[in-house]
């Protein structure tokens, strides 16, 4: 006991306590990442479909949650019954006491649809042009086989709608603007007007042809229909083309499930969102995030490197350097929302408004640049991440040995030649570190984007096949904003939760991978020079 008090007196207990705080911090980080990984990765695994026999009927569904008995409710199970169009809700709580019997019917299917949420039930028959192709057990293989064909129609329709019809409507809009421009310049005359009108007619004709083609395709895609039945005998007939995936969850086995898992994962990263962002993929958000970060990088690297060169190589220690340093630190500490406000006021309203007045008067009052867009968001983030690049570059410049510079200068090189040929190549790894850290920071910021151009659902990507290919004025989707929007603004937030978890996991992975990469680079750099950042 004595030794314990001695131990207490000397404060070892405090050492332990402070150790505990560290343990807590580390645990929180690890726990958070682990939690997201488990929660996120689990959602795409096709769960078994339970048949739950209740006193008042049978329900089929996936068990999503279970709560023990408490003051507020008895022990109960949350079942995802799906079939929103039949039951009006996706989930149902069932009291455990009411459950008479559970089983796993082999013919239960989990069917993902293009709209209206998933369907849980069995396949009754498959028909083509009203003629029954197969019934019962034999229908499923045929449906699975024909599914990709039916989806191909759907893809074709979508591609026509997007590219060809999109191009036509772009041309139409351009004609309207041309006419308006002529009017504004006072050059409008009957001949020019007639020309524009002729072209418009021509486009309208092409539109009609396109519509006819689309209609034919739609009819073809509707030819194959399936009859489905829910557990309690409600039946539904729907075109096969409306179905994304048929998962016979109870009978495909482990490998089959793994296949479904991978296909869902692929859909998640490669497809467009459906059903108000609660289903489908998040490809536009990934694309928007990446493109925004790239534009930001193009702007931030030259600026950051210039500023760092100034601080390290050109400025003499004095009030200027002190002010710049304080400015850099301040820039790093300014709340991101303030950058957003600045971006909105300066880039969007002032600069964008100026561009609109000068270059696009014919589009008035519809704004072109005087509204949030990917360019403004990227510039705002470039400003926000500037200090990251400056600090990293400075550190890297400081790490270039003095002897190398002196050697270069002694050979007669000018200061710039020394910098360009000796110092900057030597510091390139550090600059890269700064860039990666800036990218990680930029990818994770959301608040400034909300004011400068992010949207919940962008009709088209900022990069596509129509001239001029890169559309810097377009609004875009972003992973971080997707999390906020789907998680907090979505009307059906319970059904959307898996999407949010997966999106959060993806964003976290992007940011973590970038950071770990940067950290390794930096550690290598520091080991070479043994510097410290304080």
């Amino acid at each position: 006991m004595n030794s314990f008090f001695e131990w207490w007196r000397r404060g070892s207990v405090w050492v332990w306590l402070s150790g505990a705080t560290l343990a807590l911090s580390l645990l929180m980080v690890a726990g958070l990442i682990l939690f997201l990984a488990i929660k996120g990765m689990g959602f795409f695994w096709p769960g078994d479909i339970h048949q739950i026999q209740l006193a008042d009927g049978t329900i089929w569904g996936q068990v999503t949650n279970h709560e023990e008995e408490s003051r507020y409710h008895p022990a109960r199970t949350q079942v995802k019954i799906a079939n929103r169009d039949v039951y009006g809700q996706d989930f149902r709580w069932v009291d455990d006491a009411e459950i008479l019997n559970r089983s796993f019917p082999g013919d239960a299917l989990y069917i993902e649809k293009l709209d209206g949420g998933p369907f849980i039930g069995r396949l009754v028959q498959i028909e083509e042009h009203g003629q029954v192709l197969a019934v019962g057990d034999k229908a499923l293989p045929i449906a699975q086989k024909r599914l990709s064909g039916a989806k191909a129609y759907q893809a074709q329709i979508k591609s026509i709608e997007q590219s060809e019809a999109g191009a036509l409507s772009n041309r139409l809009e351009k004609l309207r603007l041309d006419g308006r421009k002529l009017e504004l310049q006072g050059k409008r005359n009957p001949r020019a007007a007639q020309e524009i009108e002729d072209k418009k007619q021509d486009i309208h004709k092409q539109f009609e042809q396109l519509q006819a083609r689309l209609e034919a395709l739609r009819n073809q895609s509707r030819a194959l229909t399936v009859t489905l039945e829910t557990a309690d005998g409600n039946s539904r007939i729907m075109p096969l083309a409306n179905i994304v995936r048929i998962v016979p969850a109870n009978s495909i086995g482990l490998f089959g499930k793994a296949g479904v898992y991978l296909s869902r994962l692929w859909e998640f990263v490669s497809a467009d969102p459906r059903e108000a962002n609660t289903e489908g993929g998040i490809f536009p958000a990934i694309f928007g995030t990446v493109m925004m970060v790239l534009i930001m990088s193009i702007v931030v690297v030259p600026l950051g490197v210039l500023a760092a060169l100034f601080l390290r190589e050109y400025a003499r220690d004095g009030w200027v350097v002190r002010t710049v340093r304080i400015s850099v630190n301040n820039l790093a500490g300014v709340p991101s929302i303030v950058f957003g406000v600045f971006g909105l006021g300066f880039f969007v309203v002032t600069v964008g408004g100026g561009i609109d007045n000068f270059f696009f008067p014919e589009r008035f009052p519809a704004p072109t640049f005087k509204t949030g867009g990917i360019l403004w968001a990227s510039l705002t983030l470039a400003l926000l991440t500037l200090p990251v690049v400056i600090v990293a570059t400075e550190e890297a410049l400081a790490a270039v040995p003095r002897s190398q510079r002196e050697g270069s200068l002694a050979l007669g090189a000018t200061k710039w030649q020394t910098l360009w040929n000796v110092v900057i190549p030597g510091a390139s790894q550090g600059i890269l570190t700064g860039l990666i850290l800036a990218m990680a920071r930029g990818a994770g910021e959301v608040a400034p984007l909300m004011l400068t151009g992010v949207v919940k659902l962008a009709p088209s990507l900022p990069l596509d096949g129509s001239f001029p290919f890169i559309h810097l004025e377009r609004k875009f989707m972003h992973l971080g904003f997707h999390i906020y929007d789907v998680g907090f603004q979505s009307p059906n937030s319970e059904a959307a939760k898996p999407m949010v978890f997966m999106t959060a996991l993806l964003l976290l992975l992007i940011v973590l991978v970038l950071n770990i990469f940067a950290l390794r680079l930096r550690r290598k750099l520091r080991r070479r020079t043994g510097g410290s950042s304080f």
């Binding site: 050492v15 150790g19 980080v29 630190n329 991101s336 998680g487 950071n515």
Partner: protein
């Protein structure tokens, strides 16, 4: 670089000079960027405080009238006068003549005209013993604006009635029947009644108190209260339905009554220019006539009021002066001298004022953001419908006649509250963990700690906010008792563990213990969590009668909000810990080793050295770490946006939410029209945030710079 050094040397030198210039420009650009952000945001916010300007316009040949209304553009005036009836006037030369449709106009001359504010509605009393109501409507026509009057009536009354106040009420229910609320003065009493077409009025008599002479009267907007000002300096409110009369001392003889937009606030003007606003409050079934705003008096006896049709400004005039004041902020926007003898009006856009008379005067007014004043942001303001002055943020209303409530105080309080809770959680953890890492952790362990903490710093705040709002908040609601219990439980388990540890042989300690204590404590954290979760239901039953939320609400009057300060504190603390950790860890590590060695040589234990030598020496560094952490917490947006309910309340309790300055910007700016008042006010709050973090960061950087110098000299 060319092979021939002489050929390219001039070019090389030029390039060298150019790059030197370019790079210096880049450095200056950084200063410019910071300054530029500040200047730009200030520039956007400043017009809020610009004073209104007034300019005389040429006088007009419009005759004096008894009621005047302006159209949306302020270029046309519609007048009613006893002798001339209804007329419409273009006020600017380029404006075409306005058409009037005089059909249905009651026979002239009229005996009396009663205006009830800028809504374009008047009530008339004719000499024929009938009363009418009229409503002006503006329509765009080819020549310009067209004024139409909808005549309503006649309503039964008698020519001999000396009517004190009349108001046309659009009756609800079937047929949308109109009626007139009429108050007529008799000797010692006032008769009130409702006039319908073709049926006699049923009068109710209100016996006036002795020695009271009514001088002005107005019906309230819905016709339920009659306000009467007296020569004896009193304001009275009479409720015909209950027969109740309320009295309030005004201070000088009342000469004019009027309403602010929305007809909820009664404006009262006195003989010596005194101006005040009253509201009629019904609280808990009790009626109250409350004087809630006093304005700077104008010169001379107040002759009339007219409100702006768009906001809470109003015009008050006397024989010699007129003034435009704002109801909410009590600020006087314009004060000028002019003789206004008859009716006056403000245009809906608030950019012109007209006063008919001999001659008719007209002014151009440039008011930038009349509803804003410095006091509005920081002081308690008495809003319409509130029983006392309060700090409220409620930027938008359903219609123009709801006052925008723009107090920064609840937002600032929310910001401070969020920061405070985050700091309570983050500070001890971050500083102690940093001290441990720099002083006690083994070098190899340190190598893994630092990157982990840097990764912690890199976690996107939107992910933290999402986890806090959607995962932590519901969990916490279930396990809050366990959370409170975890601190004592953890300390108890820790003590037990250490008791055991002191019995462990030294060789084992040296091999596995020193410098790795944190790893040993991982199970302790888990164990304490498990134990407190296990005892939580028992605690809840024993102390909170089985349901803590019920206990809080019934016993303490506290509502438990799921997204509350504890959740925010956790999430934001999580975001701040790595920042405070790294800066203070650097500060601890940078303390010269000689100091620690000296302390140890004198016999101090490692902890004593760390606590008494390292910590005080590095305290400026820790302080600067706290400053930077504070700056981050103050400006954090996504976490608070997602982890709180975003209600701008003033409540410091841990179980309620908040709205911070930053979240407020994110919530409101997408809806704010560019360059409008709300937009500029939000820019002003952004400037506030910027200044707060600017001060914190500059202080932190200055401290760090001086500390660096001190260490160098050690």
């Amino acid at each position: 670089m060319g092979n021939d050094p002489h050929r390219g040397s001039a070019r090389v030198k030029r390039l060298d000079r150019f790059m030197a210039w370019l790079i210096s420009a880049g450095g200056v650009l950084i200063i410019a960027a910071v300054l530029g952000i500040m200047i730009f945001i200030t520039k956007e916010a400043l017009p809020l405080f610009r004073n209104a300007k007034i300019k005389d316009l040429p006088t007009l040949a419009v005759p004096a009238s008894d009621a005047v209304f302006l159209d949306e553009s302020g270029k046309y005036a519609a007048t009613f006068s006893l002798g001339g009836g209804f007329r419409c006037w273009p006020l600017e030369q380029q404006a075409g003549l306005a058409d009037i449709d005089a059909s249905g106009q009651p026979p002239l001359p009229w005996k009396n005209i009663f205006t009830n504010g800028a809504n374009g509605r008047v009530a008339l009393q004719g000499f024929d013993g009938k009363a009418y109501a009229a409503e002006v409507q503006w329509r765009q026509s080819d020549q310009g604006m067209e004024a139409r009057v909808e005549w309503i009536g006649p309503f039964a009354t008698t020519a001999s009635d000396s009517i004190l106040a009349a108001r046309a009420i659009r009756g609800g229910g079937l047929g949308n029947r109109h009626y007139l609320k009429i108050a007529a003065l008799d000797i010692g009493s006032i008769r009130v009644g409702e006039a319908y077409p073709n049926s006699p009025i049923e009068w109710t008599t209100w016996q006036l108190p002795l020695n009271v002479t009514p001088t002005a009267a107005k019906w309230s907007g819905n016709g339920s209260v009659l306000f009467v000002g007296t020569n004896e300096g009193e304001l009275m409110a009479y409720l015909p339905d209950s027969g109740e009369a309320l009295r309030s001392d005004f201070g000088e003889p009342v000469t004019a009554l009027g309403f602010a937009l929305g007809q909820n606030s009664l404006l009262v003007g006195g003989e010596k220019g005194k101006l005040a606003a009253y509201q009629f409050l019904l609280s808990e079934g009790r009626a109250e006539l409350q004087r809630f705003h006093d304005f700077k008096p104008i010169g001379g006896g107040v002759r009339g009021f007219m409100e702006s049709p768009r906001d809470k400004r109003f015009l008050a005039w006397s024989d010699s002066d007129f003034a435009v004041s704002h109801l909410t902020s009590e600020a006087r926007l314009i004060h000028a001298s002019a003789e206004i003898t008859s009716a006056a009006a403000m245009s809906p856009r608030g950019d012109s004022i007209i006063a008919t008379g001999q001659p008719t005067l007209r002014w151009h007014v440039q008011a930038y953001h009349p509803e804003v004043s410095w006091g509005l942001f920081w002081k308690k303001i008495h809003y319409e419908g509130y029983s006392r002055p309060e700090y409220v943020w409620q930027s938008g209303g359903a219609s123009d006649d709801i006052e925008p409530k723009l107090s920064f105080v609840p937002l600032l309080a929310g910001t401070i509250k969020g920061t405070l809770y985050a700091m309570i959680f983050a500070l001890p953890i971050a500083i102690l963990a940093a001290l441990y890492t720099s002083q006690f952790a083994s070098p190899k362990f340190r190598e893994t700690i630092k990157p982990t903490v840097e990764i912690m710093a890199a976690l996107p705040s939107v992910v933290l906010g999402f986890l806090a709002g959607l995962v932590l908040a519901p969990l916490l609601e279930q396990w809050i008792i366990a959370l409170i219990a975890v601190v004592p439980v953890a300390v108890a388990i820790l003590l037990l563990l250490m008791l055991a540890w002191s019995k462990v042989p030294k060789s084992f300690k040296d091999k596995y213990g020193n410098g790795r204590e944190a790893l040993w404590l991982v199970p302790v954290v888990f164990l304490s969590l498990a134990v407190s979760a296990w005892i939580a239901p028992w605690i809840e039953n024993a102390f909170f009668s089985g349901d803590y939320r019920n206990w809080l609400y019934q016993g303490q009057g506290i509502m438990y909000n799921q997204r509350n300060s504890i959740v925010v504190g956790f999430a934001m603390g999580f975001a701040v810990i790595p920042i405070i950790f790294s800066i203070s860890e650097d500060a601890f590590t940078a303390v010269p080793k000689s100091l620690a060695s000296a302390s140890m040589a004198c016999g101090a234990s490692p902890w004593q050295t760390a606590w008494r030598v390292i910590l005080p020496t590095a305290s400026p560094g820790v302080f600067s770490a706290v400053m930077v952490g504070l700056g981050r917490a103050i400006g954090e947006t996504m976490i608070v946006l997602m982890a709180t309910g975003n209600t701008p309340i003033m409540d410091w309790g841990p179980f309620s939410g908040m709205r911070t300055l930053s979240a407020n910007i994110a919530v409101e700016i997408p809806e704010a029209p560019h360059q409008g008042t709300l937009y500029r006010v939000l820019f002003f709050t952004a400037l506030l945030l910027f200044s707060l973090t600017f001060i914190l960061n500059t202080a932190a950087e200055l401290i760090r710079q001086s500390l660096r110098k001190r260490y160098e000299s050690m």
